[in-house]
């Protein structure tokens, strides 16, 4: 990986600046004009989407490295630079973010009535920080954006959330902060080891660190990312945060914020510490599959719709982690696509839950039932989104999960010994997770939409408004677009993912062991000390 093209027009920076400019403008508007706040917020988030589209257009899918790179000195005294750029991995999530934000803004028109100005300021600031995290190629810049994401989300959950919002907000903040401070120490250590000249990701990738140090550093980074993902067993903040956050907060949280964790693994943890990533891939697989099973079973047991969707996130991101640490092209491509899918499907699910909540002010599944009658459009959309979430062929979810599982099995089969057995067992268990997903999602749909109408007030529920439908229509189009024409999306990330995987294998193979596949790499690491002793 390297820098492939340099930006002629700083479109990335412009896209980053648009939301924050909107936030500054909002700060000047009096607090009692909610319509103006919503309009400005929508305008600026759409503007950011359009600016983001120029990146999509200018992006050359054939190149693997970073494109449209902007590089300026930031703090020369310590060598920190403002370096931003996009590659195939970040491009998709970047577009997802710029797309989801205006949709989220639209979804709040009725849901957020108090302190609209502050809400939209927080939302727009959050967008800038999320986008910044995705494009930063300088570790200090990345860390700054990463930390900055916390405050707006903390406020969104804590001010506009549900009953236990304060507990959820503080838990969210502290959990994420614990993870990131250790990453900070790791960054400082890397800075010292790299000669104390720069924070550039591309330079740090060339460091040849001893495996022991790599493992510690990887763990420090991985903790930060694993909490964000969230990887089992670091997921306990997620149901609280999701349930208590307002709909808009949940959509952003599920759609984008969680991706920062998985993205962090792909962008930083794996390329910087390839040997450690190989060594620790089996434990991560185990945690990922545990997350799939735990998330699915817990979701099954919920009688709160939002909690159910929240736990389904844990399961879905377990798949993403599984594919990522299979470290071959299919699986990683699948997990990149699954990140987008999860943003689309789960984002849509949270929006749908929000639609229900606005009507009945309850999220209990047994408060509904039979509402397919009065809410026909809603029912149709919910069924489509549910099918996409459980991975029905023809929808986006199928492509992602299939690639992940196929890649995982290939990886397991290409290795030998214990790793092979473990990989196959985990793959089978993860596949069962797909079935579990179908069970809990479909049973939720059945209990909400079908059956007799038990509660009289459900009989007269108004169907989705034009605005609500418009928001969801965009996501439904994406569901089928990705489902029918995945090449269009996969081709963007293919070159970068291939380069990432190849680089990983080169690095791992360049060490003492040989053999293909990350299973071999991990075994080689386990075996290495013994082989050395034998040699002596």
């Amino acid at each position: 990986m390297g820098i492939d093209t340099v930006a002629l027009t700083p479109w990335i920076s412009i896209t980053l600046l648009i939301p924050v400019a909107g936030a500054l403008l909002l700060a000047l508007i009096p607090g009692d004009r909610p319509r103006a706040h919503r309009g400005i917020s929508l305008f600026f988030s759409l503007l950011a989407f359009l600016a983001g589209l120029t990146l999509w257009v200018n992006f050359d899918p054939a190149r693997a490295g970073f494109q449209m790179v902007e590089d300026h000195p930031w703090i020369p005294a310590i060598g920190a630079r403002y370096t931003v750029g996009l590659d195939g991995i970040s491009l998709l999530i970047f577009q997802l973010t710029t797309l989801l934000t205006p949709l989220t803004v639209l979804s709040t028109f009725r849901a957020i009535q108090k302190r609209t100005r502050e809400f939209h300021i927080a939302l727009l600031t959050l967008e800038t920080t999320m986008l910044g995290t995705l494009v930063a190629m300088d570790l200090l810049l990345f860390f700054a954006f990463w930390e900055m994401m916390l405050v707006p989300m903390f406020l969104i959950i804590g001010v506009w959330g549900g009953e236990r919002r304060i507990y959820a907000a503080v838990k969210f903040f502290l959990y994420t902060a614990v993870g990131s401070v250790l990453m900070l120490v790791a960054i400082l250590y890397l800075y010292r080891e790299s000669g104390g000249q720069s924070f550039a990701l591309l330079e740090w990738q060339r460091l040849e660190l001893p495996v022991r140090a790599q493992v510690w550093l990887f763990l420090a980074f991985a903790l930060a990312f694993a909490i964000k993902v969230p990887l089992f067993p670091f997921h306990t903040w997620l149901p609280d945060a999701h349930v208590e956050a307002p709909t808009a907060g949940s959509v952003i949280l599920a759609g984008v914020l969680l991706k920062m964790g998985t993205y962090g693994f792909l962008r930083f943890a794996i390329p910087l510490f390839p040997e450690a990533a190989g060594l620790l891939s089996l434990p991560i697989w185990i945690l990922a599959v545990a997350g799939v099973v735990h998330g699915s079973l817990t979701a099954w047991a919920q009688d709160d719709v939002k909690k159910l969707v929240a736990y389904s996130s844990v399961a879905h991101l377990g798949f993403v982690m599984l594919g990522m640490f299979a470290l071959n092209v299919e699986a990683v491509q699948g997990s990149v696509l699954q990140m987008v899918n999860h943003g689309v499907s789960t984002g849509a699910l949270f929006l749908l839950v929000g639609v229900l909540y606005e009507r009945r002010h309850t999220r209990r599944i047994d408060a509904y039932g039979g509402i397919a009658g009065p809410m026909k459009v809603f029912a149709a959309v919910l069924v489509i989104v549910t099918l996409s979430s459980i991975g029905l062929p023809g929808t986006n979810g199928f492509i992602g999960e299939f690639l992940i599982l196929a890649g995982t099995f290939r990886e397991a089969l290409s290795s030998q010994g214990g790793f092979r057995t473990a990989g196959l067992v985990l793959g089978v268990v993860a596949t069962t997770g797909v079935v579990l997903g179908a069970i809990y999602m479909l049973s939720m749909v059945r209990r909400v939409l079908f059956g007799p109408i038990v509660h009289e007030e459900n009989r007269t529920l108004p169907d989705m408004s034009g605005r609500e439908f418009a928001v969801l229509a965009v996501l439904v189009v994406l569901v089928f677009w990705i489902g029918w024409n995945p090449r269009f999306f996969l081709s963007r990330s293919e070159a970068s993912v291939t380069a990432l995987v190849e680089r990983y294998h080169q690095r791992v193979a360049a060490e003492r062991w040989t053999g293909g596949g990350q299973g071999a790499a991990a075994r080689g690491l386990f075996r290495a000390p013994l082989a050395e002793e034998g040699g002596r």
Binding site: G31, I75, P76, A77, I78, R115, E118, L140, F143, A144, F145, E147, M148, L150, V151, F154, L155, G158, V159, R165, I166, A169, V170, F173, L174, A177, V178, V181, L182, L184, V185, L188, Y189, Y191, R192, G196
Partner: protein, 583 residues
């Protein structure tokens, strides 16, 4: 005249205080917010003069006053911090004081005087001037701490600060006496030279004892554990803008002088052998951990910020531990550049936080329990935003100055060649998450809780609004475009160890095999003043000797000559002798 210009930053501050006092007397009763502007402008002018004038190191000595000043960027930077914090505090106090029935003129004048003390402290080379500076700074603050006269908390704060501060000052004086006993001089450069020369009577044990006393005395001033017990009570009892000044300016001045004294003494291998620099590491870790944990159980915003101030003292001690090589001189160490930057970012954030607390004082309430801050974000978005931004800067969140300061400081700690450098940072960052909890509690009551009857009223004024906006802008600037300030901090840090000229000289002496000129043995209690030097110094009015350090060439036998010209002992006695008794 030239020298009057050179020391103009000092007398401008002092004059500002006098002018404020005089104007206060002349204008009779009524609101006196203009005095705050007078003080703010005067102190800003003083800061600007210092930054403009004190660039290349210049040593000014005033033999008849036994005063030696070292005017360089170190003094300019720290002096400017103290003066600017004083200016901000004066403006921030404008709406607070009348609500609380505190005399405005008095507060403003005392702020200016204490800033003068701080500025004097950071340029002093001889221990007497240094002590005087510290006392001017502290005495003004003792009064300011107690300025809420009707309140028992105010009295408690003043008394506690005064008694414990008095003990600390006494210890510092004792340290000065020990150093004098060890070396026969009060001039830091001479002390260092004689200790380094190391023969005969110079006594490293006494110097090491002095080092411990200095650490205790200034550890008290900066609120480091275990010398921190006064902090929560004093922070709670003083008017918040004064507390913000206390936190920012006293820490800045005290850390500057602590670094100067400790690092100077540690230059001496014999002293360093008796007391390792690692004591800073342990005090730092202790402060960070204790401050983080005990802050969690507090219920008053000022007490929370007091514990936070203890945590920050701990980070700064770690920064002080992480010395870096001095430019151009191999093997010698100086303060690293992150500490001055940290003091700047911390002072601004704590002034912003306490200043914002101070404007929620309507109706004479002096209670800042968290419950009284509930829901303020709704009614007073601007002031609450300032409080939030300052608290987040204290917590070290980007893009505010506090983040970069902490980051830079930890960078230096990680770079220390010690097995403890990484564990220290890990402990510090984990403690910072604990302290994050209480910062979040403040944000929580401000934004998440509903306003209640208890919620504080808001008293605003253009002056305070200006100062509050300035703190937020400054925090953002420090976080986003920190380069000029980082550079300034580094330059300021380079001037920490005083005997720059003498040290250069010393390196040269080590390089050439010829033995360095060593003075006659000086024993404790005797021989401090050689017989031939008992001839008192000629009673010149204010004879100013100026020598740029760049061209500082000590004569063949520097110690002897200097002593013949004006032996410290003789000069010291001269001060206490009446003019008539002089021959």
């Amino acid at each position: 005249m030239k020298d009057l210009v050179a020391i103009s930053p000092l007398w401008v501050s002092a004059l500002t205080g006098l002018v404020a006092m005089a104007l206060d007397l002349l204008t009779g009763s009524g609101r006196k917010s203009f005095l705050a502007w007078v003080v703010a402008i005067g102190l800003s002018l003083s800061a600007a003069l210092g930054l403009a004038l004190w660039r290349d190191p210049v040593i000014l000595s005033f033999p008849s006053l036994v005063a030696v000043l070292h005017l360089d960027f170190h003094g300019a930077f720290f002096g400017a911090l103290v003066a600017l914090f004083g200016a901000l505090a004066a403006l921030l106090a404008v709406p607070h004081l009348p609500e609380q029935g505190i005399d405005e003129g008095e507060t403003d004048a005392l702020l200016a005087f204490s800033a003068f003390g701080g500025q004097l402290l950071v340029v002093a080379v001889d221990l007497i001037t240094l002590f005087l500076g510290l006392e001017v700074l502290s005495l003004s603050l003792y009064v300011l701490a107690a300025s809420r006269r009707s309140s028992p908390f105010g009295a408690e704060a003043g008394l506690k600060y005064f008694l414990l501060g008095g003990v600390a000052s006494g210890l510092l004086l004792l340290a000065a006496a020990f150093l004098y006993g060890a070396t026969g001089s009060l001039d830091l450069r001479t002390i260092l030279d004689r200790l380094l020369a190391g023969s005969g009577g110079t006594d490293p044990t006494l110097a090491a004892l002095a080092l411990v006393l200095i650490l205790v005395a200034l550890g008290f001033k900066v609120a480091a554990v275990p010398f921190h017990f006064w902090t929560p009570d004093v922070y709670q009892g003083s008017p918040p803008p004064v507390t913000g000044y206390m936190a920012g300016a006293v820490k800045a001045a005290a850390f500057a002088v602590l670094a100067r004294l400790l690092l100077t003494l540690w230059e001496v291998p014999a002293v360093a052998a008796l007391g390792s620099r690692d004591v800073l590491l342990w005090l730092g870790i202790l402060s960070v951990v204790v401050g983080s944990v005990l802050g969690v159980v507090q219920d008053d915003a000022r007490r929370i910020l007091a514990w936070s101030s203890i945590v920050h003292a701990g980070y700064l001690l770690l920064g002080l531990w992480a010395v870096e090589p001095r430019e151009g001189i191999g093997g010698l160490w100086t303060l690293n550049g992150s500490v001055p930057f940290y003091l700047l970012a911390y002072g601004i954030a704590s002034l912003g936080a306490f200043g914002a607390l101070g404007v929620f004082a309507r109706g004479g309430h002096e209670d800042y329990r968290l419950a009284r801050l509930a829901g303020l974000g709704r009614g007073h978005p601007a002031a609450t935003f300032v409080l939030m931004a300052s608290v987040l800067s204290l917590a070290g969140m980007p893009p505010l100055g506090g983040f970069l300061a902490k980051f830079r400081l930890f960078q230096h700690v990680v770079a220390v060649d010690s097995p403890w450098s990484i564990p220290a940072v890990v402990i510090a960052v984990l403690a910072s998450v604990v302290s994050l909890y209480y910062y979040l509690r403040i944000l929580k009551v401000l934004y998440f809780d509903e306003p209640s009857e208890e919620t504080a009223g808001h008293a605003s004024s253009p002056a305070a609004a200006f100062a509050m906006a300035a703190t937020v802008v400054a925090s953002l600037v420090l976080g986003i475009v920190p380069t000029p300030f980082l550079d300034a901090g580094r330059r300021a840090a380079q001037g920490t160890v005083l005997a720059a000229g003498a040290s250069l000289e010393r390196v040269a002496a080590v390089a050439t095999p010829s033995p360095a000129p060593v003075s006659a043995p000086v024993r404790f209690g005797e021989g401090v003043v050689p017989p031939d030097a008992r001839r008192p110094a000629p009673p010149v009015p204010v004879q100013v000797i100026r020598d740029a350090v760049g061209g500082y060439r000590p004569p063949e036998a520097p110690l002897d000559q200097e002593r013949r010209r004006a032996p410290d002992g003789a000069r010291l006695m001269e001060v206490f002798r009446s003019p008539k008794a002089r021959p």
